[in-house]
Symmetry: C2
Subunit: 589 residues, 2 copies
């Protein structure tokens, strides 16, 4: 057996920022060297950021990725870090002749080994995920090799993300190739209540391959996706050895005892069990084990509980969306209700209350407690606030066109949306919308009204969880939250009955079932794709099933025009749920 | 040789309307029987409509499709049509065990043969397109068979759409299976300037297989897609024999002389040349050739020229979007400029001027000719019109918040959007937006302002083509257009210099290059994915390249929130162009 200290670089790249990401790679490699690491593993497509979507179809972008990889290898050597091998993800190309349906330029979701100033070897993802948030058949062609490099006597194999999840392919060959360690760069997004599927998967693959496994995952917000990190290491028996924290950057080091190999270098084809042949490319960096040293005690971060996890995901998503889009401040309408209160709190935690601007926009139907509760939040958090009454503007519209009922309600919501967009255009704030998932799913919101804005922090949070998160935040904090206030959410906003206040004495329950009932039904219908018969069998009231399905299916159009927002479940609407708009299928008939 | 009369049912299904589509199938089969056809071929997924997107992941929907297929077979028999074989597309399932990444329920893009009240055999698409508008790896699993049924002595093979476009798979087996005819149900969307690729493809495949080929294509608008029909038949030498019209429903019949077969029924595996095995399933409906009869002269419809084709696509798209969504009328803002004039004209042609409502919304910056040109269009077309001045509403906003420059311009556009949305909510009209592709690509439009609405008829039409189509329409008509006016577009709207009129003496060229220059550059950058170096090499001015790329990349966010509109090019923005919003890649650096 031989010792190796592996560093997992759980980092937050920015899509397209090749020089910024490369600079971070060098800095983190220096940290890893300082901590005595023998190998550094960065995440999937770290050099380009992930996901790059259509950028990958541009020749100039793939050229730049390949060039950045070579330059980074040379720069590591020039800065005295050339002896420390680095595994990093980037975009390469397969050099295939064009054909109908093949992505332009035949791009590869690749990973390379950098050592002594050179790109020593590379590989590419074999299994291309094309479900959920992934569209990779659109963007990539398959890789067909498994590099195995000997480092201080230990044979280290490299595979990319999805190849771990599917049967067959490169990971199925690792055992037969006799590798002593499998390292896997990943960009695996957060999803709530996933249990511990990644750990179970890594443990299973480690046992199958009979070797230790290093799983390095991206962290950070990228538009609708939030990557949670949670990188981990298991030994050959599948036991958890080390684990990084969630929702934070971390250089995790781990000391492993690994088997020594003396297999011959060369290229060896293997039947990969999925109809393909994987070529194992075996090469030697160094055969001599490192002199024995005292291992560090392993770090195993505690996992967050459900509410801490979701709240942290939302804060990180807002922080990165603001920063990566180059905004300095956000603006939102504060109604006194719980949705805008929680949104403001998340924003204050993400970028600090001094960069959060709220607008109180009372109408003729606003209750006294609305303004008072909004003002109480402003007082507690210290955000920037102004009051803009909307009555005179609504009157000006109603002088020109006659609107009644729902049309008149929508008008008020749209006047508020226009005020926020006007202030955004004038002062450069990013507009945050405050709609929650229950509203959005049922269409209980106004197109171009409360849905107008640039980012929707709680669009994937059901109303019942909006309350839970507000209560949780009043009891808990985290060093990464920038808001220092005690109990930042006014209690009255949490406990009062929800109302849109667009007409006298309006209550959400005038139009919707109680949220505890609605949210359970939405989860079964939207996330689990149950049909009406299954929903009724699962215990939902038949007339409610019919009503809610109708609302959800009709709201499809509105959801398509909703701004992006952090994703914490399989389906957060908008781009995720794809239904034809002109569509006569009725689940209830 | 034996004669057969084949009927191609070039029809317009509605997604999800299983009973409506089935009813149409029966009616068209009766027509085909009346015309003496021996076989009727409907289009891909005709029974469910195409594309069904996420509906296919619902168990209840796939169940309903399979049930509708069986019921339709029985109904044909019950109505005396059981002897006439029908090939029709529908959704089936493969019955595979679930696994990670496999679409829920393992759906199939299937086609079946109905005869004597039974589903006699079926097949499913083998090559799943996942480029351009197609996402089929997300929705379907692959088929692996090629049914060949003997009809009056002729062996007829059935394959689905994309299988014609790709090498290998079922179509590569047709020749070896000795089929005398290949019939292919399709749902192939329209794209301008595609030349005659479908005919070339059919001719090539017919020659490769050594048999005649029947290509039946869907017609109609389905959200952003427009299917053009253009169904065709080639003989075994690849010569065009018959062709249906474009953008209209048509039952095309053709008489063919085809070889007689006496091969043994049974199942025969073939290596399909793409790593898969395709099972040929040979069965016999009838061996006796039909008695000789006098063939009808073949119908070969003339193809439309570019402008007729594009204009017809837009009219059909608007007509079907309105009808399939259950609207009775549309509303739009009429400025006097060419974009809204063309949009109104398309709408009048699509649903008739009596169902088109226009609103003239002059501001303090509107010129006299704007109102006059708008009024002239109203007079020529006879659409419903009203005038709503916006000055007082804008003043009411400006009393509450201070807006300058672009923020004040956006406010005016948003007030107009709110008026249209208010009238839409109040009276049930569908709001049409009037933005063209050049504006949309460069972000020269206001989010929640002129981009607010339900359908965007000219969102994929560059400004230079907006003028061309307007001139074309003033010179041409078509029996399918519902507007009977002569020269419906006022000449002054076509010839005057374009202006947004959001500030005094504003001209589009204050912010944008001349449209002839801009549109060529947009085509190279957006449709052809050229990088900045390639663009400069192609002759575009370097400073213009830098400026336009910056505009286009920054406008990505706005485009995502734009409503759907008919698609006539590979990329009409919105869902088609997928770029990360937080993204630091700069094509120009």
């Amino acid at each position: 057996m031989a010792q190796l200290r592996i560093a997992l670089a759980q980092t937050n790249p920015t899509v397209g920022d090749l020089s910024g990401n490369a600079g971070k790679l060098v800095a983190w490699t220096r940290d890893a060297a300082d901590r005595g690491a023998h190998l550094v593993v960065f995440t999937e497509m770290f050099l380009t950021g992930y996901p790059v979507e259509d950028l990958v179809l541009r020749t100039s972008f793939v050229d730049a990725s390949i060039r950045a990889l070579r330059e980074t290898a040379a720069r590591l050597r020039d800065e005295g870090l050339g002896e420390l091998p680095v595994v990093v993800g980037y975009v390469d190309r397969a050099g295939l002749a064009p054909r109908v349906g093949q992505p332009k330029g035949a791009p590869l979701d690749a990973a390379a080994l950098l050592h002594r100033g050179e790109v020593v070897t590379c590989t590419a993802k074999h299994h291309l995920p094309n479900y959920g948030v992934f569209d990779e058949y659109r963007y990539f062609v398959r890789g067909d090799r498994l590099p195995v490099f000997r480092l201080h006597g230990v044979d280290v194999a490299v595979a990319v993300c999805e190849d771990l999840w599917q049967e067959g392919g490169p990971v199925s060959v690792v055992g037969r190739a006799g590798a002593g360690l499998l390292v896997v760069p990943n960009a695996s997004p957060y999803e709530k209540e996933k249990d511990d599927v990644r750990l179970e998967l890594c443990a299973r693959r480690a046992r199958e391959a009979g070797c230790a496994l290093v799983y390095a995952n991206q962290v950070g917000g990228q538009d609708e996706l939030v990557f949670d990190g949670d990188s981990l290491v298991v030994d050959a028996s599948g036991e958890l050895v080390a684990r990084a924290g969630q929702f934070r950057e971390e250089l995790l080091t781990v000391d492993l005892d690994l088997p020594v190999s003396d297999a011959e270098p060369g290229r060896y084809p293997f039947d990969a069990g999925d109809g393909s042949t994987i070529t194992v490319e075996r090469l030697v960096l160094s055969s001599e084990p490192v002199p024995p040293y005292e291992p560090e005690p392993p770090v195993v971060a505690e996992r967050l509980d459900l509410h801490a996890e979701v709240y942290s995901a939302l804060v990180l998503a807002v922080r990165d969306y603001v920063a990566k889009n180059g905004f300095r401040s956000v603006i939102l309408g504060l109604s006194g209700g719980i949705d805008s209160a929680l949104t403001a709190t998340i924003a204050s935690d993400a970028i600090g209350p001094d960069r959060v601007h709220v607008v109180l926009m009372p109408s003729r139907y606003s209750s006294d407690h609305s303004l008072a509760d909004a003002e109480e939040l402003v007082r507690r958090q210290g955000v920037n606030a102004r009051v803009v009454p909307i009555a005179d503007i609504v009157d000006a519209f109603e002088k020109e066109i006659e609107l009644s009922g729902l049309s008149a309600e929508n008008l008020q919501a749209r006047v508020r949306g226009m005020i926020l967009m006007g202030l955004s255009n004038e002062h450069g704030h990013l507009v945050l919308t405050t709609g929650n998932k229950s509203e959005l799913a049922t269409g209980y919101s106004t197109l171009y009204g409360d849905s107008a804005g640039g980012f929707a922090p709680i669009k994937d949070v059901p109303k019942t969880m909006v309350w839970e998160l507000s209560r949780w935040r009043n009891e808990h904090g985290d060093p990464s939250f920038l808001l220092r206030a005690e109990r930042p959410v006014p209690e009255n906003s949490i406990t009062k009955e929800p109302s849109a206040e667009l007409r006298p004495d309006q209550r959400d329950t005038d139009s919707l079932p109680p949220y505890e009932v609605l949210d359970r039904l939405l989860d079964d219908y939207v996330e689990k794709d149950m049909g009406s018969r299954e929903l009724i069998e699962a215990g939902h009231a038949p007339e409610l099933v019919a009503r809610v399905i109708r609302l959800v299916d009709l709201a499809e159009y509105k959801r398509r025009q909703y701004p992006p927002g952090p994703k914490i479940t399989p389906k957060n609407f908008g781009r995720d749920r794809r239904l034809p708009i002109t569509n006569r299928w009725r689940e209830t008939t």
